[in-house]
């Protein structure tokens, strides 16, 4: 620092009380003004959001390719997802997005306690989302729809006999002697018996990967919002400085955005029964 020439002499807070606002505590020394710092932070967050979209993009691409290769599998296997639970989770996430937006609004207005309340509601909704997801996942585990367990690739599951039950699903070989792939018979969400071809693990594989990566984002989002909440309770934010609340909420809206696409692509697309 000693060899840096300061173009503008730093104000002396004690001498000029009116000028102390120009260099508040929250303003990093490499920014000229709070507005410059705010817009730089926002741009950084949006670039990060773009990279997040591209990370999920790999899975969306896999979805598009696999679905294009075998649309019948997706039509059939999506009946194992519960539309009501998916829709409930969508509304829970949309509501948490609303409260996140309201938290930012309260922070913009400098209403600290109101911001805390909205942040707490957002975090609770995130937890509720995970609880519903837990029930969906455990039901699928129980049915034995987890890829690698029920849908063994014939190279790896030779030990399983024809007609053997794994979990509550039945595995059937068309021609066990010829090493043909296994079919899986299980009851779907509408109570209908479905006979799933071996390739149905493509659907459940992409389902668990996409919703799993999304669930990780929900957990990260909860952590970020909790950190923002603690800082807010400690009085770190004001009308002039609420950037972490804004960026934390942006992250949370991203989690919502991803789910807005996951829900129809996984739960709704396909022929109705």
């Amino acid at each position: 620092m000693s060899n840096v020439i300061e173009p503008v002499p730093a104000p002396v807070p004690a001498a000029h009380d009116g000028h102390s606002e120009a260099h508040p505590d929250f303003l990093q020394h490499h920014f000229d003004t709070p507005a410059q710092q705010f817009h730089a932070a926002k741009l950084g967050m949006w670039v990060f959001i773009a990279t997040e979209i591209l990370m999920f993009g790999g899975l969306f691409c896999a979805y598009a390719i696999w679905r294009g290769m075998d649309p019948a599998i997706f039509d059939q296997a999506h009946h194992f997802l519960n539309k009501k639970m998916g829709a409930s989770n969508t509304v829970v996430l949309l509501f948490s997005s609303l409260t996140a937006a309201l938290a930012v609004r309260s922070a913009q207005l400098g209403k600290r306690n109101q911001t805390s309340v909205f942040l707490v509601i957002t975090i609770l909704c995130a937890f509720g989302f995970l609880v519903i997801k837990y029930f969906e996942y455990t039901h699928k585990f129980h049915l034995g729809l987890l890829p690698g367990h029920c849908f063994g690739h014939p190279w790896f599951s030779g030990a399983i006999q024809n007609g053997e039950e794994v979990g509550s699903c039945l595995r059937i070989h068309a021609d066990a002697a010829a090493g043909s792939p296994e079919w899986v018979r299980a009851v779907d969400e509408s109570g209908n018996m479905q006979l799933l071809p071996p390739r149905a693990n493509m659907f459940f594989g992409i389902y668990f990967c996409m919703t799993g990566l999304h669930a990780i984002h929900v957990i990260v989002g909860m952590s970020i919002l909790t950190w923002v909440l603690v800082k807010n309770i400690n009085g770190k934010f004001s009308k002039e400085y609420f950037t972490p609340v804004d960026l934390g909420a942006l992250y949370w809206h991203l989690v919502d955005l991803v789910w807005i696409y996951l829900f129809p692509l996984l739960y709704l697309v396909g022929k109705p029964e």
């Binding site: 000229d32 003004t33 507005a35 410059q36 817009h39 926002k42 741009l43 949006w46 959001i49 773009a50 979209i53 591209l54 993009g57 969306f60 691409c61 598009a64 390719i65 290769m69 019948a72 539309k83 509304v91 949309l94 997005s97 609303l98 996140a100 937006a101 930012v104 609004r105 913009q108 690739h153 014939p154 039945l170 059937i172 068309a174 010829a178 043909s180 792939p181 079919w183 018979r185 209908n192 018996m193 006979l195 071809p197 071996p198 390739r199 002039e240 909420a249 942006l250 809206h253 919502d256 807005i260 696409y261 829900f263 129809p264 692509l265 709704l268 697309v269 396909g270 022929k271 109705p272």
Partner: protein, 155 residues
């Protein structure tokens, strides 16, 4: 500092302080209501079969919802245009990514004989890296479903 964020209705002084558009709580609740209506709509239409348009309808409604969230909850409406460009650029590159992958997949054969053919779909020539095609892989798997299929009672 630039004044590009100033709005026509209330110009901000260029004083270096953070000036943002603050919407009313009622407005945010209105957006939430619209999002819930669109969610119910997309569930409702999923019970009707529009053939190949199913996925287009679902994606159209999802994009409307995403647009509402990005524009208003994420403040893009009153934010710097450059942030919107950064956001939309992600979708541009995602599109390039998916199109190139589609092109690649369409021009080579499958290599896993448990899940379909191992030949080029048009020429019938064995695909590089794949195992030779057999009757087990060439026959459509749907063609010879094992006994004990859908509809039968589970013992």
């Amino acid at each position: 500092m630039s004044t590009e964020h100033a709005h026509a209705e209330h110009d901000h002084p260029d004083d270096g302080r953070v000036h943002v558009h603050i919407a009313t709580a009622r407005f945010y609740w209105g957006i939430f209501g619209a999002l819930v209506v669109l969610t119910l709509l997309t569930v409702k239409v999923s019970y009707y079969d529009f053939g190949s348009a199913n996925i287009l309808i679902a994606l159209l409604i999802a994009t409307m919802k995403a647009g509402l969230v990005a524009t208003f909850f994420m403040h893009l409406r009153h934010d710097s245009l450059f942030n919107t460009l950064a956001f939309l650029a992600a979708f541009l590159f995602l599109g390039i990514f998916i199109l190139l992958t589609y092109d690649d997949i369409g021009k080579r054969g499958q290599i896993d004989n448990a899940y379909g053919g191992v030949t080029d779909p048009r020429s019938g020539v064995s695909a590089p890296g794949g195992e030779p095609a057999t009757s087990a892989t060439q026959d459509s798997i749907e063609g010879d479903a094992p006994k004990g299929g859908a509809g039968e009672k589970k013992e």
